[in-house]
């Protein structure tokens, strides 16, 4: 029991990590888009749990608020709008199944070999330092305020583009 409590954080991290990975596999494998969306939502929530365990609680909160609360709700609405008799809903994989899977596997193997323990330098890794919310806020609003403001320009462009797409859909090109 004491061992369990002492290692609770590591155990939770492992559980969340394996669950997030399983959700990711299900997104690629499941046939119904709605089920894939649910798997993706579970992956995002587990990633939020990982962020919380790492001590960056504000990113965990925004992960759930923005990704699950906005992006995926939007996605689920669109899935419900579409016709379930669409042949794309019945046939899962494109003809590129084997080349695509091979490329992804090769990429994963190459990248993971880069961070695997065997290839790491002999020096013991430094303990994680972490950072506080105050440090983040100072960096965010002192150093990166311009980038933050520029994202508002990006959002404005996105809104205008969405309106333009809707006008094209109505056949109203004026």
């Amino acid at each position: 029991m004491t061992w369990l409590l002492a290692n609770l954080e590591t155990i939770l991290l492992a559980v969340f990590g394996v669950s997030a990975l399983a959700g990711g596999v299900l997104v690629v494998v499941l046939r119904q888009p709605m089920r894939a969306a649910m798997a993706l939502i579970s992956t995002m929530i587990f990633l939020g749990g990982i962020y919380g365990l790492l001590g960056v609680h504000f990113i965990a909160a925004f992960q759930v608020l923005i990704y699950v609360g906005a992006v995926m709700v939007f996605m689920v609405y669109v899935i419900m709008l579409l016709d379930p008799r669409d042949p794309a809903f019945r046939r899962r994989f494109s003809p590129l199944l084997f080349p695509g899977a091979a490329v992804a596997l090769g990429l994963a193997a190459t990248l993971i070999r880069g961070v695997a323990p065997g290839t790491a330098p002999a020096a013991a890794p430094a303990p994680a330092r972490g950072f506080s919310l105050a440090e983040f806020a100072t960096a965010f609003l002192n150093q990166y305020w311009l980038h933050f403001e520029l994202t508002s320009v990006l959002l404005l462009a996105a809104v205008i583009a969405a309106i333009a797409v809707i006008r094209v859909a109505r056949g109203d090109h004026g």
Binding site: V28, Y51, F74, F93, S94, A128, L155, V165
Partner: protein
């Protein structure tokens, strides 16, 4: 394998899975979801590195990625709906005539 390495492996696995989903799947919406999976993998690696280095800049970048992901989905979903209305299918093969 310590915690940072395990999280990095998870991030890389999520990124590769997302890439596989974009290439392998037929449905445009599932391809979009796979792209979100790739973004989530990148976010996880950024948070892991920021936490390891004690640098708040990584978290700032994650915030900006949140905004870009929201903007991306706000554009992509209307385009997908428009395509579905034109051709009555979301099969990516039905749009093969878009290639130059």
């Amino acid at each position: 394998m310590d915690k940072t390495q395990a999280l990095l492996v998870l991030a890389l696995a999520l990124f590769s899975l997302g890439l596989a989903g974009v290439v392998v799947r037929r449905n445009l919406l599932v391809m979009l979801m796979s792209m979100e999976l790739m973004l989530n993998g990148v976010n996880l690696s950024l948070v892991t590195f920021a936490n390891q280095m004690g640098a708040a800049e990584g978290a700032v970048l994650v915030f900006l990625i949140f905004v870009v992901a929201a903007a991306e989905i706000a554009i992509a979903i209307p385009i997908v709906l428009l395509l579905a209305r034109r051709r009555h299918t979301l099969d990516a093969d039905a749009y093969a005539d878009l290639k130059g």
